[in-house]
Each structure stands twice: as C-alpha cells, then as structure tokens.
Amino acid sequence: MSGKPRLTYLNGRGRMEPIRWLLAAAGVEFEEVYLETKEQYDKLIKDGFLLFQQVPLVEIDGMKMVQTRAIMSYIAGKYNLYGKDLKERALIDMYVEGISDLMQMILMFPFSPPDAKEKNLESIKERATNRYFPVFEKVLKQHGQDFLVGNKFSWADVQLIEAILAVEEKVPDVLSGFPQLQVFKTKMSNMPTIKKFLQPGSPRKPPPDAHYVETVLKVFKK
C-alpha cells in the first residue's frame, strides 16, 4: 500500500480530469486504475467500492471517495488550495461552480449526435466568451493580482487554466478578447507543478476521441 491516492476511471478525461489537474497542481503523485470493460465496472459495484455505483472513485486517506465535487473539495482543503477563510472559500466555490458548468458542456460534447455538434460547439464558444471568461477577466483586472482569490494560488486558478486550455482546443482564438486571461494562462502554465503536468508523459489525458466515446458507451452500458 503506497499511500498515494488511487484513481479509478476510464483512460480518458471525463469527470476525472479536473481531479488529476488538482492533484498534479498540488504536487501530489497518484496512481491510476483504468476501466476498460463492463465486467471490471460491474465487479467494482459488486465489491461495494462505489457508494452510488458510479465513478470517479478516488481512494485517499483511507476513504473510497466518490462524487467529483466532494473529492475536489477534500483535495483543495487538504492541500491548502481553498482560501484562508469562509468568504474566500465562498468565492472559490462560486468560481469553480461556474467553470464547472462550462466544462460540463465540453464533457458532453463528444456524445452529442453528429447533427447537433456544430450547434453545441457554437454554444460552448458563446458561453465561454459571453458568460464565463468575462467574469474572470474582470476579477483579475479589478484586483490586479496573479491569482483569482486572496492573492494566493487556489483550486479556482487550477480549474480556470484547465478550462481555458480545454476551450482553446475547440476554439483556438477564444482568448483574443481577454488580455488578462492570456497573461493568467501563461503564468499558470509556468508554475512548476502545472508546467510538469502539461509536459508529455504526465498523467494528463488527451482530448476524447472516438475510441474513448466507444469505451464509455461499452463500460457503462445497461
């Protein structure tokens, strides 16, 4: 038993990717178990590993944690990425929830029917540029600090850099109207733990492809 957190999910981004980002940003090494067949998944359920019969599953500090947000809140709290008090935590939570809504659109995108893909892509671009990015652009402009909350690196920053890169994969010039976010992107990308995560060979997973979609549908088939 290594003591490292152990992540169980498919070999792809999905709902586990933000957790990988957060652990990596916190400098925490982790192990991964990949679900490739329905039988593996059914066995996990049968063995009572999955509280609500779902993954992500993160075994950490003697707990079998499920539910993405619960897992991330725990990691953020444990590694001091959750602000210094209740009000800072409130801000981090608000920012993270907003970004999470945007990431949800990206998460679901590969599973949209072919005739809806163009419309969904347009929605992602619209929401990013009209609803979410302007908020963070304004926050950074107003306080002039490097990080979103409390002049200190937090979960909110990790979530935002992940979202920026994910949207850019689909809309390469999405930051063109957001100079503060461009600077933010560079600064975050250069933080040692994040820089390492962005290099080839890290636990970061590639964008979902047809094979990933196929695996998801196969493993979670009823």
Partner: protein, 220 residues
C-alpha cells in the same frame, strides 16, 4: 449592516428550495424577492448582480452569492452544519451530492415532455430505491446513530430529509423497505426549526405544478 439573507428566485422550489431548507433548519430568518416576469430577471441582469447571469442568487454577509452548491456550502459552514473536520466534511459532501443527483431528477420531471413522464418517474423511483436510499439506510445501520455524520445534525441530514419528502411526493410508500430512514424522517422532521418549516405558512414552496412550469418557461 448584517441584515437577513435575501433570496432571489421564482416563487417555486427549483434550485432555491434546498437553500430555503438549510437556512430554515439553521434557524435563520430570510427575505425573498420573487422573479415573476421576464422583466424582473432582466433588471437583475442589468443591475449586474448575477455573476454568471443566473439565479439562485442570495445576498448574504455583504456578498451576492450565486451557484447553489457554493451558497449551500457557505451556509452549512457558517452555521456549523458541516462536520468538525475535513473528513467529516468529505462524507457530508458525498452524501449531499447523492441527494442532489436524486432531487435533480425529480426537479426536472415537470419540465419533461408528457410522453416521457411515466418512464422518467419510474427511473426516479428505481434510482431512489436501489441507488440512493440503500446508501443512507446502511450508513444509519452501520453506526446506529441518529444523524448521518459525526453523531451531530449536519447539512447531509437536512438534505436527505428534503429528498425523502420529495421522493414520497412521487410515490408515497417509497420508504417501505427502509425502516431506519422512516425513523430518521420522523426524528429529523421533529427538530423544532424543521418542524416549523414543514408547517403551513412557512417559506417552504409547494410542489411544482403546470402553472409554475409555464411561469418558469416564460421568464427564462
């Protein structure tokens, strides 16, 4: 100026109801400003008070909080309903995410096409009785205590009671196989603040009917 928290939402349950439950359970009085027509929502937009252009929005302690989970987490922590340490918080978070998923399904039911309602209702009951309620029944059985986490009332208990009552509105005998949850329901319902909230005349909102659905569609 402390003042009471002020809730901005439509006059229905939706995503604000869990917030009303938590504040009420914590014994916190709050005001409500109801969005009744599109213009009300537009005014909030134009005043720049909705961070992501969405409600719920709760004015509390000098903040204009949005995002249901952020608001609930803040209230839970402020009123000591979030466990005593990081691990208890982790358990509360996990339990709450489960009841959130279940209540989310129930919340969407009135908005679904009529021809899918029966199928969706069946799925809700299936999920409630095979995925969610067994977890909470087992938790209570394993430790034999009155509350889900840390032998103390927490957000998880309040959220579970809300979910149980919502599920019962879908199927009155949904708890028939869960004796500990039945006892839990009785116990938590009798906590003075919660008992008060469950009485007529409180700020608890009624189940969503066709009229509410029409109002919501028009506003948003």
């Amino acid at each position: 100026m402390a003042g009471k928290p002020k809730l901005h939402y439509t006059k229905g349950r939706g995503k604000m109801e869990s917030i009303r439950w938590l504040l009420a359970a914590a014994g916190v009085e709050f005001e409500e400003e109801f969005i009744e027509k599109k213009e009300d929502l537009e005014k909030l937009h134009n005043d720049g008070v909705l961070l992501f252009q969405q409600v719920p929005m709760v004015e509390i302690d000098g903040m204009r909080m949005v995002q249901t989970r952020a608001i609930l987490s803040y209230i839970a922590a402020k009123y000591n309903l979030y466990g005593k340490d990081l691990k208890e918080r982790a358990w509360i978070d996990m339990y709450v995410e489960g009841t959130t998923d279940l209540m989310g399904m129930i919340m969407h039911l009135p908005f679904q096409p009529a021809d899918t309602k029966e199928k969706n209702l069946a799925l809700i009951i299936e999920r409630a009785t095979t995925r969610y309620f067994p977890v909470y029944e087992k938790a209570l059985k394993d430790h034999g205590q009155d509350y889900l986490v840390g032998n103390k009332l927490s957000w998880a208990d309040i959220h579970l009671l809300e979910a149980i009552l919502m599920a019962e509105e879908c199927k009155p005998d949904v708890l028939s196989a869960f004796p500990l949850l039945q006892a839990f329901k009785g116990r938590i319902s009798n906590i003075p603040t919660i008992k008060k909230f469950l009485q007529p005349g409180s700020q608890r909102k009624p189940p969503t009917d066709e009229k509410s659905v029409a109002v919501v569609r028009k506003i948003f």
